[in-house]
Amino acid sequence: METLFLEATYSGTVELCPETISYLTKKGYTKIGLYASVQFVGKLETVESQLNELGVTSVTSRPDRTHVKGQLLGCDNYHNSLNLDKDIQVYLYVGDGRFHPLALVYAQKDSNEMKEIICNDPINKRMVLMGIEDICTILKKYRGSLVKFFTAKMVGVLITIKPGQEQFKPALLLEKKYLDKRFYYFIDNVISFDQLENFNFIDVWVNTACPRVGFDDQEKFVRGVINLNDALSVEEILGKESVFNKKIQ
């Protein structure tokens, strides 16, 4: 069976709204990181020339799982996933909704400082700012889950069978690193949140499906959940000087 992907490019004009232009001017930003979701990423010419007129230099990158430069996926939400090696003062995201730009907030949680994210929505022609306050509640619970994992004896590892997600082999690193814990592996197509509590012997869950499940769906896990890559470096995460440790207690 063949698969044809169609990007569903936005049919309208993609440009900076007056609110975004006046905010950029007011703040005096001169170097920004520019990203967009796939519906908008191929239509950024006007945005780039508007930035140019404002004297703002834009830089971008091709994050790990994307296909084109400047594209942002919700799952490229760890700092090293972005592959951005240049200094910037602020992020500018072009697109609608919260899912994609929140990846830029999560991506900075382990950094020393949080750069704000200016979201320019070309559909509704408005600007929204995002920062650590947007994910504080989730990160507080996430911290609790990290601490819980640290002492847990019985850990449930969630693996999904979708070809783009299946991460069974990387998950096996857990039992090599944590010899004092017993890992149970659970397999599913889409994570069945309503089934989790049937396995009442599990102290805490490790998510290997979409990494956004570990954050955005935190409330659905009564016993807590952390993502696989965080599970493999819990001590480092809790011990470093980061936005996560400075702002989330």
Partner: protein, 90 residues
Amino acid sequence: MMLYDAEVQKVLDKIKESNAKTVCIQLPDGMKPYAKEIEEKIREETGARVLIWLGSNFGACDIPLGLNKMGVDLLVSWGHNIFHKKMEGW
């Protein structure tokens, strides 16, 4: 007017080129209301049987499984492009 370009002609061309007889269409939530329009266009223009994926379309990582067993020749998935999986994990 649809906010996003569905590129239906590209789908029709692909079906004709590959001689697909059974096609599954997977739409993101925002485009699901247009399933009727797209299904009818494909059926009328190509004669292919169209199956509309009811479930999720979280990303290009979220491809329906088991379609081969249903004899599906072509899956058309909107709203994403090629996903580069990292084999070593997230």
